[in-house]
């Protein structure tokens, strides 16, 4: 009952021996994620936490330990290289948590993903990760706020997603899969990609899409929703009160000085596509429940 990850996911952690990698790996293992290996170049042959084998390269983790998904916690200067290593190892799914990756690096990564017909899907960077509640958690989100169910959640933000998920869980509605696509201007998976996957997932009945100012990812997703999506969709856009020309924390959250990428334009696209809109971030679940009884 999910997309991308489930109880059969075999995770490798790139940067497992670092502080962030160690903390979040512990959290994911506690949640029940099957972590089969870690990668830290030069530490191959060691055991992380006396249990999980550490490899020097990602290829080794795939070959020796059957990893089929990877999560990246390496510092921003090395993150793109780690993603490219994962693409070369032909791992189907890579989730990059790292914040602060130079955008030029991501332009190169995106071109690698697009032009060479690679087998890899990248989620992120600068994202909380992805979770299929009750089965597999990859990333930094708190597991306990989620509950297994049939609502898919997509978001460019971390804590704002937790807010929406918590509203759903408290109203008794579980989630199929929650994907944080990240707050950077160039990422691996767009709102459109994520909406399409959830739309095609037989175990997802309804979708929540949380966007932000900047770019046109939400408008593109809405064009698809209007044509192709019969499932109920609710949405919220953060940044209606943000000024022009300023980057609001996330590198991608900026209304250009010419006025492109406003919350208003994105809300209109949602309206046009028949998406149930939450104007207020505390009413995201409510907006969905207006059109979906669960």
């Amino acid at each position: 009952m999910s997309i991308l990850i489930n109880k059969n996911t075999r995770l490798v952690v790139q940067g497992i021996t670092g502080k962030t990698g160690t903390f979040h790996t512990q959290q994911c293992v506690e949640y029940g994620t099957n972590v089969v290996a870690g990668v830290t170049p030069g530490k191959g042959g060691q055991l992380w936490d006396n249990t999980i084998p550490v490899c020097n390269t990602l290829k080794e983790a795939v070959k020796e330990h059957g990893a089929n998904a990877s999560v990246i916690y390496v510092p921003p200067a090395f993150a793109a290289d780690s993603i490219l290593e994962a693409i070369d190892a032909e791992i189907p799914l890579v989730i990059c948590i790292t914040e602060g990756v130079p955008v030029r690096d991501m332009a190169e990564v995106r071109n690698r993903l697009q032009t060479n017909k690679t087998k890899t899907r990248l989620i992120g960077p600068n994202c909380p990760g992805i979770i299929t509640p009750g089965e597999c958690k990859i990333g930094i989100m708190p597991g306990y706020i989620h509950k297994p169910g049939r609502v898919g959640v997509i978001s460019r933000s971390g804590t704002l997603t937790y807010e929406a998920v918590w509203q759903l869980t408290q109203s008794g509605h579980g989630q199929s899969t929650c994907i944080g696509i990240g707050g950077d201007p160039i990422n691996g998976t767009s709102q459109l990609d994520a909406v399409r996957m959830l739309n095609e997932d037989p175990d997802t009945d309804a979708i929540i899409m949380i966007g932000e100012i900047g770019g046109s990812a939400e408008e593109e997703a809405c064009a698809y929703i209007k044509e192709q999506v019969k499932k109920p969709v609710a949405g919220f856009i953060a940044g209606a009160s943000a000024p022009k020309g300023r980057t609001m924390g996330h590198a991608g959250a900026i209304i250009s000085s010419s006025g492109a990428g406003t919350a208003e334009a994105k809300f209109s696209a949602m309206e046009e596509a028949g998406v149930s809109i939450a104007r207020n971030p505390s009413e995201i679940a409510e907006a969905l429940l207006r059109i979906y009884k669960g």
Partner: protein, 396 residues
């Protein structure tokens, strides 16, 4: 990160783009030497601020124009005296304007035609795009809106880079012939190289001029760089001009906090950029006005929370504070201890509403309840926003 015109032009020159001779000055002595270096030629005196529309701008004392063409050194001195340390208001500065602390003196030239040339990173296609037009020297957005057919767009693959044929195509599209095609190709090559090697998001030459002598020159330039890549480029980082930034924002960046000053009176402190924006939005939707964006990040400690309170309260417009934390990785008890510690160090003399949710929320609420910090707890985000907006309105 943005830089000044004179810095952008000096960089372009390093990459082989011809610019008019020019000198920057920040004080009377430097002005003296800049003007005497230029000599008795026609000179352009240009106010250096991080905002466009300088030529059409007005100083707060009524003096008109942040870009002046003068005939001789005496007039150059006069214009410089008027501009330095005066505040320039342009269409892009907002009504408060910007204090001019650097002037740039350049040799004037005989212009035959003005072109536009830029390279920018397009986020949707993840490609670099060369943008060029025969309509330079004006607002390029207006050209895009009114005469889109006059805008040339040439996507450049980040993995293949700029090739000679790209340069030739743009040169011919702009109507250059013979020797000028070569001149233009050298300029575009230098521009792209600077953009790529220095991790720029945008490098713009507007206008690129053809002089009556047939020479191409970058008359004005603008550049902005990826803040996430500055660690690779100490030379670019050194071009940061703190005079152009809000002191509160500088203090915040020194404490690893993402803070942006706004015009309202309700300050907010939130974890996560998306939630921080959403918190500003909900304040506005209840009829209040946010004083700032502030993301304390995923792992803020007591020191950072204290610093955040100090920064927020250094804004004289602030008449209330809303703290909104959804504890994921950040635990609510840690933030609660941060608030209590901050209240001991900082005099919080305005209403404070705190909404905690998520990891260790009960422990966090208990710490706040048992402290003597004057605050109003709120259960939900909308309740928190409603209370702070009401409290601030009732203090008017």
């Amino acid at each position: 990160m943005n830089i000044h015109e004179y810095q952008a032009k000096n960089l372009l020159e390093q990459f082989g783009v011809p610019i008019p001779r020019g000198y920057a000055a920040t004080n009377t002595e430097e002005i003296q030497s800049a003007i005497s270096d230029i000599g008795e030629a026609m000179t352009v005196v240009k106010a250096q601020i991080h905002a466009g529309g300088r030529g059409k701008g007005t100083f707060t004392d009524g003096y008109k124009g942040g870009v002046k063409v003068v005939k001789n050194s005496e007039e150059a001195h006069k214009a410089a005296k008027q501009m330095l340390n005066n505040t320039l208001v342009t269409a892009q500065t907002g009504p408060k304007g910007r204090k001019v602390q650097t002037l740039y003196f350049t040799e004037a030239c005989d212009i035959e035609h003005e072109y536009y040339l830029a390279v920018v990173l397009d986020r949707e296609s993840a490609q670099s795009v060369i943008i060029a037009s025969t309509e330079g020297g004006v607002d390029i957005e207006a050209v895009a809106d009114d005469t889109p057919e006059k805008l040339i767009r040439m996507p450049i693959s980040p993995t293949m880079g700029l090739r000679s044929h790209h340069c030739r195509s743009v040169a011919f599209a702009l109507g250059f012939e013979g020797q000028q095609v070569k001149q233009f190709s050298r300029i575009l090559t230098g521009l792209y190289k600077m953009y790529w090697e220095k991790n720029a998001m945008l490098v713009e030459i507007n206008p690129l001029v053809k002089t009556k002598q047939g020479k191409l020159l970058a008359l004005d330039a603008k550049a902005s760089f990826d803040g996430n890549a500055l660690f690779k480029h100490p030379d670019i980082n050194n071009l940061r001009d703190l005079n152009e930034e809000d002191p509160k924002e500088i203090e915040a960046s020194n404490n690893d906090l993402a803070y942006i000053a706004l015009d309202g009176d309700i300050a907010c402190m939130v974890n996560g950029a998306g939630l921080a924006m959403a918190t500003m939005d909900i304040i506005q939707s209840f009829g209040g006005s946010p004083a700032n964006f502030l993301d304390v990040g995923g792992g803020a400690n007591e020191d950072q929370v204290t610093a955040a309170f100090k920064i927020i309260l250094s804004d004289p417009n602030v008449r209330g504070i809303l703290v909104n934390i959804f504890g994921g990785i950040m635990q609510c008890d840690v933030i609660a201890r941060g608030i209590v510690a901050a209240a001991k160090n900082v005099d919080i003399n305005v209403p404070l509403v705190v909404r905690l949710e998520g990891t260790n929320v009960e422990a966090g609420k208990k710490i706040l309840r048992e402290s003597d910090v004057a605050l109003t707890p709120a259960e939900s985000l909308s309740e928190a926003a409603e209370i702070i907006v009401q409290k601030v309105k009732s203090t008017v």
